[in-house]
Symmetry: D2
Subunit: 354 residues, 4 copies
C-alpha cells in the first residue's frame, strides 16, 4: 500500500524527494542470472536527465546511479537490488518562495492537507525527479525482456500532431533529435515551437506514443489486472499525465463492430490491429501501441496570483529552471514503465498452467 511500490512480482519500491539527500529504490523479484549492462542503465538515465538539450530544463543533475546490492559478478543474484541517486545540485534557495504559498496546479496544497505539512523544497516527493528511479528499474526490466522491443516517441506537441501511423516511422530516428520525434521534419517544427514557448516563459502539453513489439502471447491477468489496465495505471502514475488510450482508443468509439473487428490470419495473427495487441486483457502477439497525454508543465515563468497557507491572496513570480514541454524527457520514463509492466506480467504468466 502507501503507494510507493509498483508491480506484483517484479517490484519497484521507490523513495526520495527532489531536494533530499538522495532518491532511489529497491527492485525486488528480479530473477537471478541476468547479465546486466550497467552502462546501458546510465544511458537510459541520461536520456531522462536535465540539461541534455536547449528545449529541456537547464538544471545540472548528473543523476549517477549507485547500486548497493543484488548484483554480483555482473549478474543479478535474485536478491533485492538497492540503488540510490544522490542529489548534488539542490539549490534550495530557488524554492524558498513556495514555502508558504501554493503554486497553482501543483501538489503543494494537497500534500499539506493530506499529511499535515510538506517538504516544501522543490516539489518534494511530488516532483518528477522521482521518475529517475523508475528509469533505473525499467532499464533493468528491459535487459530482462530481451527480444521485446519497446519504443516510445513524441507524437504531438500542442496542436502539432504527427498524423503518420507508427508503421510509417523509423524508430532509429527517435534519438537523433532533442524532441524524440522519429519524423525529422516534424521534430524540427516541434523543436522550434517549444523554443518559442520557452521564450514566452510558458509551457505546452504533448502526447507520447509507445509501441511494444514481439510481446509473447498470454501476458495479462484478467479480470482486474488486464495488461492494458496495468499499462494505463503505469502511465497515469507519471507526473502530468491526463489520459491513456490503446489500440483504436477514443477514435474507436465511432466505429461499428463490423469495421473494428480484427480478422484472423491462419497463423493466429490478425489482418488489422485495431485491438492494439490485447484481447480480453491478454496480449495476442500483435504490436501493442498506446498514447499518453501530458498536460503543460504547471510552472510558468510569469507572475501569478495564488494563496498562502492562511488563505490570503499573494502574488508570486514563477522562477527556476523548468521544462517548457515535458514530453521529450518523458519518453524514457514511458518506456521504463512499460518495461516494468511487461517484466511483471512475464513472471506472472509463468504461473498460469501446470
Amino acid at each position: 500500500m502507501a503507494g510507493n511500490t509498483f508491480g506484483q512480482l517484479f517490484k519497484l519500491t521507490s523513495f526520495g524527494e527532489s531536494h533530499g539527500r538522495a532518491i532511489g529504490g529497491v527492485l525486488d523479484g528480479c530473477p537471478a542470472g541476468i547479465q546486466l549492462n550497467l552502462e546501458q542503465i546510465q544511458v537510459e538515465l541520461d536520456r531522462r536527465k536535465p540539461g541534455q538539450s536547449a528545449i529541456v530544463t537547464q538544471r545540472k543533475e548528473p543523476d549517477t546511479v549507485e547500486f548497493y546490492s543484488g548484483i554480483f559478478e555482473g549478474k543479478t543474484t535474485g536478491t533485492p537490488i538497492g540503488f540510490a541517486i544522490h542529489n548534488t545540485n539542490q539549490k534550495s534557495k530557488d524554492y524558498s518562495h513556495i514555502k508558504d504559498s501554493y503554486r497553482p496546479s501543483h501538489a503543494d496544497y494537497v500534500y499539506d492537507k493530506k499529511y499535515g505539512f510538506r517538504d516544501y523544497r522543490g516539489g518534494g516527493r511530488s516532483s518528477a525527479r522521482e521518475t529517475a528511479s523508475r528509469v533505473v528499474a525499467g532499464a533493468i526490466a528491459k535487459q530482462f525482456l530481451n527480444g521485446i522491443q519497446i519504443n516510445a516517441f513524441v507524437s504531438q506537441v500542442g496542436e502539432m500532431k504527427l498524423e503518420k501511423g507508427y508503421k510509417e516511422l523509423d524508430f532509429s530516428k527517435i534519438e537523433t533529435n532533442p524532441v524524440r520525434c522519429p519524423d525529422t521534419d516534424m521534430a524540427e517544427k516541434m523543436e522550434a515551437y517549444i523554443k518559442s514557448i520557452k521564450k514566452e516563459g510558458d509551457t505546452i502539453g504533448g502526447v507520447i506514443t509507445c509501441v511494444l513489439q514481439n510481446v509473447p502471447i498470454g501476458l495479462g491477468e484478467p479480470v482486474f489486472d488486464k495488461l492494458h489496465a496495468a499499462l494505463g495505471a503505469a502511465m497515469l502514475s507519471i507526473n502530468a499525465v491526463k489520459g491513456f488510450e490503446y489500440g483504436s482508443g477514443f477514435d474507436g468509439v465511432k466505429m461499428k463492430g463490423s469495421q473494428h473487428n480484427d480478422a484472423f490470419d491462419t497463423d493466429g495473427s490478425t489482418k488489422t490491429n485495431l485491438s492494439g495487441g490485447v484481447q480480453g486483457g491478454i496480449s495476442n502477439g500483435m504490436d501493442i501501441y498506446f498514447n499518453v497525454a501530458f498536460k503543460p508543465v504547471a510552472t510558468v515563468l510569469q507572475a501569478y496570483e495564488t494563496i498562502n497557507k492562511e488563505g490570503e491572496k499573494v502574488t508570486t513570480q514563477g522562477k527556476g529552471r523548468h521544462d517548457p514541454c515535458v514530453v521529450p524527457r518523458a519518453v524514457p520514463i514511458v518506456e521504463a514503465m512499460a518495461a516494468l509492466v511487461l517484466a511483471d506480467f512475464t513472471l506472472l504468466a509463468r504461473t498460469n498452467k501446470i
Copy 2:
C-alpha cells in the same frame, strides 16, 4: 495476484463464468457498522441487467444476488461479505458454434493460448457478465461513501457526441431514458441510432462520462497509486474499454501552462478545474470528472470468416442476443468501479497521519 482481486483495503475478489453455476465474489475489508439497504443493491444490479430496454441484449437473466456472510441484523459486521448470483438462463447451445473456432476481437484465442484450453460456453470468464459482481460490491461501496455523489452517463455514441459540459446537465434525467444520457434530446437521437445499428446486426462504440462530487481532499497515494491512476486502471479493467482521460484529458495537451493552470480561490477551491479534481495524484476537493471510451461490441450478427483451433479458415454466422451498444448498461459498472476506488482510498487515507 492472479488478477481477480480489486483494491487494497476495500477488496473485491470476484469469481464466475458466464455459463457456469454462479458468479459472485467476496468483499473483504468493508468496515463494520454500515446499515445496508439491500434493495438498493438490487436496484443497481437491475440497472445493469439484460433485457431492461429495447436497445440492450434481450437475454433473460434475473441477476438476483444472495448474500452468504458479513451482514448481520442489517449491518456490515467487518467480516468478509460473500455473495453469489446464480446463472439461471444458461442456453449453452447458443454458443456451441464457438467451441472450436475463435471469434474475432474476442478473447477466445488468447485464453486458449494462455491457459491451454478454455471454458467455451459464452465468453466464460472473459464475458462481461462478470461485471455484475462489481456492481454488487460497488453498491455497497456507495453506501459506505455516503455524502459523495457518483454520477455516470453516456456522453457519446458513435459520432454523436454531447458537447455540453457536465455542469450544464441535469443528472436526475440520466435514468429517464434507456440510453442513460441526461440530455433528453440527444438521448432520443442516440436511441434511434442504436436501434438502426441493431437492425443492421451491427454494433457501435461510445463514451461514458463520470463525475465524482463532494470527494474529500486527500484521497490518493502517490507516487504509483495516484487517485486518477487507480481510476484509470479500474475503468480500463471493464470489458471493451479502450481509453481513459480525466480533467482536460487529451485536449489538455494543446494548451499552454498559463491557460491550463487552475488559480486558487481563498478557500482553497480553484476558479477553473482543468485538473479534474486531482493534483499530484491526490483529490483536491473539486469535482473529479473523467471519460471512458468503449469500443463497439465484437459480436455482430453477420457472417464472418475466422479460424479454428487447427488454424483452418472457417465461415461462421454471429448469433445470440447481444448488446448493439454497450454503454447504456455500462453506466452502473463505471459508477461501481469508481465507488470501489473511492472506498479503498478512503480507508487508505485513514493511515496518512499520526
Copy 3:
C-alpha cells in the same frame, strides 16, 4: 489486507460465519490444467466434519461443497474457483445464551470491541467452522502438488506424548483410528483419555506433528517469506493454536552448534536433519517436519462466571455440542494449510531465475 486472504499467488479468500447462510471461498491463481478429483476433496472435508466419531462434536453438518466456477470438463481453467458450503444445521437457539455475555477465552469480547458489535450466533466468524473452506482449497492444492507427501497426525494429547520419531511410524495407520495417531497403542490410550475428559464436560489440548516429504529444493522466499515462517503463520492462523516449532524446535536451543549442524552427503542430502528440511528459509530437499500446539477448547460444559456487555457479573452454563479435544479434527486442517503454503511457494519459485 483485512485478513481473509491467504497466499500470494495461490490465493484463498474465505468468507462465512458459523451460523450464516453459507461459508466458502474463492481460490484464485490455481494453475490451469489440473485434473481434479472432486470426490477426494469431499473426502478431506469428511475428515474434518463433525460427528465422525465418538470423540468429536456430535453436531450434524454434512459439509457438502458446491463449486461455482473455475472448473470445466473436470479440469481447473486458471480462473478463480468459487465455492460454498451451505450451513444446514444452524440451531441458533443453542447459542442464544451468549448473545449478551462474553464466553471466557473466546473471541466474543474482542469482536465486540473491534467492530462495535458482533454476529453472536455461535462463534460467528471466529468459529473454527471457517476452516472447512481451508480444507477445500487445501485439497485442491494437494492435487496440484502431486508427488509431495503431506502427512499430519496427533502426537500428543494432554500429557500423553508419542515419543517415537516420525520415521518410526507408519503413516498408513493415521486414518485407522478416530484420534489420528499412527501408533495404535497410543491411539487407544488417547481415545480413552479423551472420552474421560468428555465425560467430565471438560476439554484437553494436544499437538499435531506434520511431515512434508519429497518437497523440491528451492521453495521459500527470503528474507521475510521464509518457508518455515509461512508455515508458522499458516499454522498459527488455525483456531486454538498456541505454538509452532520445526526441525529441532525448542529442544534445539539446548544443543551446541557442533551437535546441531547437519553434515552433507555427497548427493547434497544431509546425514542428520535437525534443520527440519529448511535452510535460510529455503527447502533443502530433506523432510520438513514441524509441531503445532493446540490449547484445550474453551467451551466446557460446566457452569462458569463471566461478564455481560454492561460489565456485570453473570453465571452461565456451558452447553452445545463441542469437541472435547480439537486435534483429531484439526489434522486435515494442518495438512490443508501446509498444502496451501507449498502450492504458493511452488508458483513463486517459478520466478526465481531467468
Copy 4:
C-alpha cells in the same frame, strides 16, 4: 512477493548483502507527523551491532544509518523513508574458503540451487547482517507506537532456563549485562557459560522472551492475519529461529479447558492470562508475551567435513569472527519485528469500523 517486504500498511522493504556496498531499506506507509529521535534509532542499532561485548562477534562494523528521504524538519512526512548502512569492514578474504564449498546448516547450498549461483562473500543475503535494516525500521515503529511497551530479554541459554515469570522480573535490568537477561544472577551464569562455549570454538542456542504491554484492544485481522500469526511469522523470519509460542504455548496443551480459560473481571480484563493477550487473533488488552527459540549458530571454529559444488568431500576449518550465542544481539531484533507488527496492525485497525 519476492520476500523482501514486511507489513501491509507500515511496510519495510529491505535490501543488502553482508559484503556488498550497503544494506538498507525503504519504510513506506509510516504516517506523517512523527517527531523522530534519530539518536534513539542509532541506540537501537548499537544494541545489535557486533563488538559490543566479549560474548558477541568481535567484527568491527559501526553500522551508522543514513536517511535519504521521508524526514523533514525532524518529522516523518508520510513519504517513503529510504535509508542505508554502508558496509565498511568487508574483509572478504575471511570468506574465500566458502566460495566453492557448502557450510553445513548454512544457506549456501540452497541459494546455489534456487538462484543458480550465489554471492559467496559471507552469507550474502542470508547473513543476519540483513537484520540491521529491521532494527532501523523497528526503531521508527517504536516511536510511532508511543505508549506501548516492548521488552524482550534472554530467558534461556542452552539448558540454563530462567524459571521466573516475566512479572517477577525488572525489565530495567535487561541492558545492564551483556547477555540481556533481567535476572542478574542468571545473567552472570549465562555469560560465563557462553564464554566457555566460545573457548571451545563452539556455539549454543537460546530463547528470547518478549512482552508487549499497553497494547490497545482490537489489533489483529482474522482469520489469516491473526495478531499472533503475524508475530509468529515475524519471529520465524529472523535468522536461526526454530520455534515460536505465545501465552501458554506448548505447555498449554497439557491443560484442561477448565484450567486454561481466563475468567473476566468486570472491567473486561482477565484474572489470568494464559491466552497471552490475544483472543481469536485479536489483542484483548492484556499483556502479550511469547517465546522465540534460536538454534546454535552454525559456524563453529572447528574442522569439519563437507562437500563442494561438484559433490566431492572436502575438509574445512571454520573461521571468522562469529557469535558463540546469537540471543544477546537478537534481543533488539525481536523487539524491532514486534514493533513492526504492532505498527502495521495499528494502521489496519483504523479501517475496521465506519
